[in-house]
Amino acid sequence: MAVMTVLQAVNDALHHAMGADDSVVVLGEDIAELGGVFRATDGLLKKYGPERVMNTPLAESGIIGTAIGMALYGMKPVPEIQFLDFIYPAFDQIVSEAAKMRYRSGGQFTCPMTIRTPYGGGIRGGHYHSQSSESYFIHTPGLKVVVPSTPADTKGLLLTSIHDPDPVLFLEPKAIYRSVKGEVPEGDHRVPFGVAATARAGDDAVVLCWGAMVHTALKAAALAAEQGWSVQVLDLRTLVPLDEEAVLEAARRTGRVVILHEAPRTNGFGGELAAVVAERAFEHLRAPILRVTGFDTPFPYALEHIYMPDARRTFQAIERVMTF
């Protein structure tokens, strides 16, 4: 198996999908000759040509709106939004159209498409290159929301997304685009939706997390181990569909739940996870469910490292549930 970065895994998956299926097309801003601002689509134009690798005019609602039209017509578009922070002009197309097409047409029309976009903080990108706004989309029935944390999962989940019959928002944690490396299976590697992965086993507490925060959680779990606490890190991988059973199994077994995400606290997905645990595993809990999150402020520039949840704050939460 080849060792790749997360970014190379994205590129590898796209090459594989386009090579295997003519109906897969990619479109977006700067994705052709430049290969995308992060180079995720590098080499695709040369190999598959301008009919299938399309630079678009600079309008997100047009990128998604036309991708929907292609999907309706039977293609498998993989539009790229340059940064998740720029997706809002396309919000109507995603929320009112792509997500509702199958439902409102009684299954007559469908939108199988994968919207790829870099996500999250940690690159000194300020308000508009750092957001984690998954909750807007998780809150929309009809959309699947996927966040990988390893190169292998990036490829496996991206290929599953492209072949999924429904629209998928594929959030790529850009902070770990190049910093996280790992072995990636060759060929048609697929990781199923709705199956969480245990990034580290443990029995005293569980940290629920996804994307770049999985690596933060792993550092915190290592700090906890120094105290003699065995902490599980559960990487949710897909937020819709959610592997509720894995969450509940961990909650029931450990009785201590910490939820970690970059997104602002209020109405973040952590609130939903806490509710799931409280509703279905309450009698097993030995401590309050704690959240470690971004704050209810716009994403900052100079104080980014203070804003972002880190291993220290995560460890403090683990400490609290362990000593409750």
Binding site: V25, A59, S61, G62, G69, L72, M75, Q93, R104, S105
Partner: protein, 377 residues
């Protein structure tokens, strides 16, 4: 100065021969074609009349009439092939009708019953007809425009000689998606036709409050393709203009914006009261240009049809609609569990749990709504 919209129906008869019949011949339309155009227009009107009446009687919850706009609907629909794709607004039921959508299924949508293709999930008049390549209708305005461009781009990539047509009103030309869609189409030279049904009013807002442009058609210039104005109440003129635009798109000549100048003779919807904002005299003026009446006169003058045939068509349309209403009113609601179908191809575990809960909570049976909810609340 704005170019006058193309009109055929009331143009002076051609000198040579002097017969109106030559107009149809020049367009390549047979007597059968002309009669079918008229039939479809009359069927739309019959559906409208019964639909609005049923809403007033409380039998259905809502209705969107298109009376006065039958001409552009049928003229455009006639110019398309079955394999072309339609991205409709909510005011072009005639396009679906012409392409063979069954009236009972349209009426099923008005009742939101188990026979409705959309399983009662949308408000009335939000049709979806897969077999007719007639896309599910959305209430947000203009979203179908970039989608049509995307489908057209897919047709282009696959080398298929097909065309995508997007319909929208004059108000929608203020939406971002109109401009975005037009721009993408121009850049890609996509095989699509944009059909603006300029009916002068966006609910209560007149065209002069939507745009400073002299016409809608002129907006195409900015996107690098042609805009054409046509008399939207003239089914033959619309047919000619859309036929040419479609042919151009099919042959790789790129998109066209067609501005069909027409008038919304009825309210925006059953919830609207146009007497609050528009002068009656304006409606009276436009009534004289009723597309069905004009075409009726044309058919009679050209000897394409006689009074007896015209009367029969009206009677038949009313009977067809009436029977569909009677039949569909007796159909039951969609099954409770269907609420959770089609969110995804396969329901997520969370949806399955919610379905189990709902069926338990409701005892598995449909409960009549006693809240008195009515639109608008």
């Amino acid at each position: 100065m704005a170019s006058a919209p193309l009109t055929i129906l009331d143009a002076p008869p051609a000198k040579k021969g002097g017969k109106r019949a030559s107009v149809a011949e020049a367009l390549g339309l047979s007597n059968g074609d002309l009669r079918r155009m008229h039939e479809t227009m009359v069927r739309i009107r019959a559906l409208d009349e019964r639909g609005l009446m049923s809403q007033r009687q409380g039998r259905i919850g809502f209705y969107v009439p298109s009376s006065g706009e039958e001409g552009h609907q049928v003229g455009a629909a006639f110019a398309l092939r079955p394999e072309d794709w339609c991205f409709p607004s909510y005011r072009v039921p005639g396009v679906a009708l012409h392409r063979g959508a069954p009236v009972p299924r349209m009426v099923a949508n008005l009742f939101g019953n188990a026979e409705d293709f959309a399983h009662g999930r949308q408000m009335p008049c939000h049709y979806t007809f897969r077999e007719q390549n007639f896309l599910s209708i959305s209430s947000p305005l203009g979203t179908q425009i970039p989608q049509a461009v995307g489908a057209a781009r897919a047709m282009q990539i696959r080398g298929e000689k097909r065309v995508a047509v997007a319909w929208f009103g004059d108000g929608t030309t203020s939406e971002g998606d109109f401009h975005v869609g037009m721009n993408f189409a121009g850049v890609w030279k996509a095989p699509c036709v944009f059909l603006c049904q300029n009916n002068q009013w966006a609910i209560s807002v007149p065209l002069r409050q939507q745009t400073r442009s002299e016409t809608i058609a002129v907006k195409a210039v900015a996107y690098g393709f042609e805009g054409v104005r046509v008399d939207g109440n003239d089914v033959l003129a619309v047919y000619q203009v859309v036929r040419d635009a479609v042919a151009k798109a099919r042959e790789g000549g790129g998109p066209t914006l067609v501005e069909a100048v027409t008038y919304r003779m009825g309210p925006h919807s059953s919830s609207d009261d146009p007497t609050r904002y528009r002068p009656g005299a304006e409606l009276d003026e436009w009534r004289k240009r009723d597309p069905i009446e004009r075409f009726r006169r044309f058919l009679l003058a050209g000897g394409h049809a006689d009074e007896a045939w015209l009367a029969r068509v009206e009677e038949e349309a009313k009977r067809e609609v009436s029977e569909a209403f009677k039949e569909q009113e007796t159909k039951g609601p969609p099954p409770l569990g269907s609420l959770f179908d089609d969110v995804f191809a396969t329901p997520t575990p969370a949806l399955e749990r919610q379905r189990d809960y709902l069926l338990r909570a409701e005892g598995g049976k449909f409960r009549k709504d006693e809240s008195g909810a009515a639109f608008p609340l």
